[in-house]
Symmetry: C2
Subunit: 111 residues, 2 copies
Amino acid sequence: MIVRDLTEIEALSVDVAGAKGVTKRVLISEVDGAPNFIMRQFSIRPGGNTPYHTHDWEHVIYVLSGAGQVKHSEGVHNLKAGGSALVLPNEEHGFVNTGDKPLVFLCSIPK
Amino acid sequence: MIVRDLTEIEALSVDVAGAKGVTKRVLISEVDGAPNFIMRQFSIRPGGNTPYHTHDWEHVIYVLSGAGQVKHSEGVHNLKAGGSALVLPNEEHGFVNTGDKPLVFLCSIPK
């Protein structure tokens, strides 16, 4: 069993093309022996966004704090604390902070 | 893409043997088309606990609010908001609310 506090986990800048003001913490991963999926926490600063992109794996999302939107091919959904989302494999998506505080969410992916 | 607010999701009483004061919301699941894993939110009232048990799948945990402990075969770990945990397959575990507010956490499992 592994238990850790958020403060133990380094926040890494996400420097991929199209990302603006995004940091990531890997909370639980295959390095810990997780058999099936990986849980990360993302923080997007006000005015920032993740890349608008697609890939062949899903995202399972839970919004911890802040306000924002997830853009997709057919429009946008608003996000706030307590919101959950499923981005299916190959769905275009991008997360945008539309508020004045960090938009913080969990994003789990398959291993 | 599915986006939903917590308030849209019914809280179900967990009435399995050994559970005390536990409710569950299924946030994202195979019903939504999730290919690999299921995200649930549990709330344990003060004085309550989940069963102390084991099974052959893992839990990936994120603590949203409250204070508690996860018991396992070798002792206990304290839990508080921002804490994450990995319970490996076949590890004995049970969650206990040791505080005076609900202990609320996400618990994801493989499909």
